[in-house]
C-alpha cells in the first residue's frame, strides 16, 4: 500500500507543479467559451446544448496531459525502477490513474461552474453535469493512462493519442450528455462504463508498459 500511495502523491505533485494542470483547465474553459461565439448568444439554445458542450470540452481537455503521464517515466527509467522493486505494472498503472484523477478532476469540476455560467446553464442542470463528471472522470483518467501507455515512445504520440482515446470515450460522452438531459438510466450506464474502464484499464496499461520495456 505504501508504494501505491507514494506513486499517487508523486502523480498529483507532477500534475500541479509543472503547470500541467493549468493548461487542460484553460483549454476546457476556452472550448466552452468558443461555443457561444459559434452558435450565437441565444441564451435558450446555449442552456439546451450547454451540458453536451461541457462534456465534449472535458473530453478534449482530458487528452492534453496524456503525453506526460507515462512517456517521461518510461524514458527516464522510473518505470524500470518500479519494476525492479517488485511492483506490479498493473499496480503502478492503477496508482497513476488514481493520481491523475485526483490531479485533474477537482480542478475540472471547479472550472465547470465557470463554464456553466458562461453557457447560462440553470442551477439544476449544473448539478446534473457535476454529478455526471464526478462519475465519468475516473473513467476518463483510466482511459488517459492506458492511452499514454500505448502510445509512449512512438513518434507523433500526441496525435495518435487522440485517435486511440476518443473512440473509447464516446460511451462516456453519450451517457454523460444523456444524463444531463435527464434520460432515465443514463447516469447508471455512465457509472457502469466508467467502472468498467477503471477496473480493466490498469491491466491493459500494465501490459503495454511491460511490452515497452522489452
Amino acid at each position: 500500500m505504501r508504494p501505491f500511495l507514494a506513486i499517487v502523491l508523486r502523480e498529483i505533485r507532477r500534475a500541479w507543479s509543472s503547470g500541467g494542470l493549468l493548461l487542460p483547465v484553460a483549454f476546457f474553459l476556452l472550448v466552452a467559451i468558443l461555443f457561444p461565439f459559434a452558435v450565437g448568444p441565444d441564451g435558450k439554445l446555449l442552456a439546451r446544448i450547454g451540458g453536451g458542450v461541457i462534456w465534449a470540452a472535458a473530453l478534449l481537455a482530458a487528452l492534453l496531459p496524456v503525453e506526460r503521464l507515462i512517456a517521461p517515466d518510461a524514458e527516464s527509467g522510473v518505470l524500470d525502477q518500479f519494476a525492479v522493486r517488485g511492483l506490479s505494472d498493473a499496480g503502478v498503472a492503477a496508482a497513476k490513474m488514481a493520481g491523475h484523477w485526483l490531479g485533474f478532476a477537482p480542478a475540472l469540476l471547479a472550472a465547470t461552474v465557470i463554464a456553466a455560467g458562461l453557457l447560462r446553464l440553470p442551477g439544476e442542470t449544473l448539478v446534473q453535469v457535476e454529478l455526471g463528471l464526478l462519475i465519468g472522470t475516473p473513467g476518463l483518467a483510466a482511459l488517459g493512462v492506458v492511452t499514454a501507455a500505448l502510445v509512449s515512445g512512438l513518434r507523433g504520440a500526441g496525435a495518435l493519442a487522440g485517435l486511440v482515446m476518443l473512440p473509447f470515450a464516446v460511451p462516456l460522452l453519450i451517457f454523460g450528455a444523456g444524463s444531463v438531459e435527464g434520460t432515465p438510466g443514463a447516469l447508471k450506464l455512465l457509472a457502469a462504463f466508467s467502472l468498467l474502464l477503471v477496473a480493466g484499464c490498469p491491466f491493459v496499461a500494465g501490459a503495454a508498459m511491460r511490452m515497452g520495456r522489452s
Binding site: R2, R10, E75, S76, V78, D80, Q81, V84, R85, R213
Partner: protein, 186 residues
C-alpha cells in the same frame, strides 16, 4: 546463499542472438565484471539479471530485490536532489543524507536535479543505489561521465558493499578495478 544465479542464459534482441550459455553465481562478497565492445549485450545482460528483460533461454534467480543503476537517472528533474532521491529512499526504507555524503554531493542536496552535470547525475544515481540498502547491485556503465576521482570513489563504495556481504554485477567498457571479480567477456 546465492544472491544472483544465471543458468544457461541466452539473450536475443531484434531477432539477433547476442550471447548464449552464460552461467553465473554471485554470493555475498562476490563481484562480476562484464566487459566487451559496444552492442555486444552488456546492458541487456544487466536488464536480464534485473528481471526487466526475459532471457531467450535459461533461468534467473535473485536472492533479494536488486538495486539497478541503468543509463537513465530516474530522478525527477524539477525536484531538489535530496527530494528526488527521497522518493526512492521512502520506497526502499533507506536514508538519503548518508548516501549523498558518500558520493560527495551533500552540498548539492537542495539543487534541482536538472541543474546537475552529467557526472553529478551519475553520482546521484549511485547514491540511489546506495540508499536502497539492497544486497545485490546491478550497475550498467557506472563509470560513464565520472572523473578519475569519482571512479576511485565508486570503486571504494563497491569494495565496502562487498565487505558488508553484498554482491555486485558491473557492466562497463571503462576500466573499473574490482579485485577478485569474475570476468565475463561478451
Amino acid at each position: 546463499m546465492s544472491l544472483l544465479v544465471l543458468r544457461d542464459i541466452a539473450c536475443a534482441r531484434g531477432g539477433r542472438m547476442l550471447f548464449e550459455g552464460l552461467n553465473l553465481d554471485l554470493g555475498p562478497g562476490d563481484a562480476c565484471l562484464v566487459t566487451g565492445p559496444n552492442g555486444v549485450g552488456k546492458s541487456s545482460l544487466v536488464r536480464v539479471a534485473a528481471g526487466l528483460l526475459d532471457p531467450a533461454a535459461g533461468s534467473v534467480e535473485r536472492g533479494c530485490l536488486p538495486a539497478l543503476l541503468s543509463e537513465s537517472t530516474a530522478l525527477d528533474p524539477e525536484l531538489p536532489l535530496a527530494a528526488a532521491l527521497g522518493f526512492w529512499a521512502s520506497l526502499d526504507g533507506g536514508a538519503v543524507a548518508p548516501a549523498l555524503a558518500a558520493v560527495g554531493l551533500a552540498d548539492l542536496a537542495e539543487v534541482p536535479v536538472r541543474f546537475l552535470s552529467t557526472g553529478q547525475r551519475r553520482r546521484a544515481a549511485i547514491a540511489r543505489v546506495l540508499a536502497s540498502g539492497s544486497k545485490l547491485w546491478l550497475l550498467d556503465e557506472p563509470a560513464n561521465g565520472l572523473d578519475a576521482a569519482s571512479v576511485t570513489m565508486l570503486e571504494g563504495l563497491i569494495a565496502a558493499h562487498r565487505a558488508a556481504g553484498g554482491a555486485v554485477l558491473v557492466a562497463t567498457h571503462l576500466p573499473v578495478s574490482l579485485p577478485g571479480a569474475v570476468e565475463v567477456a561478451l
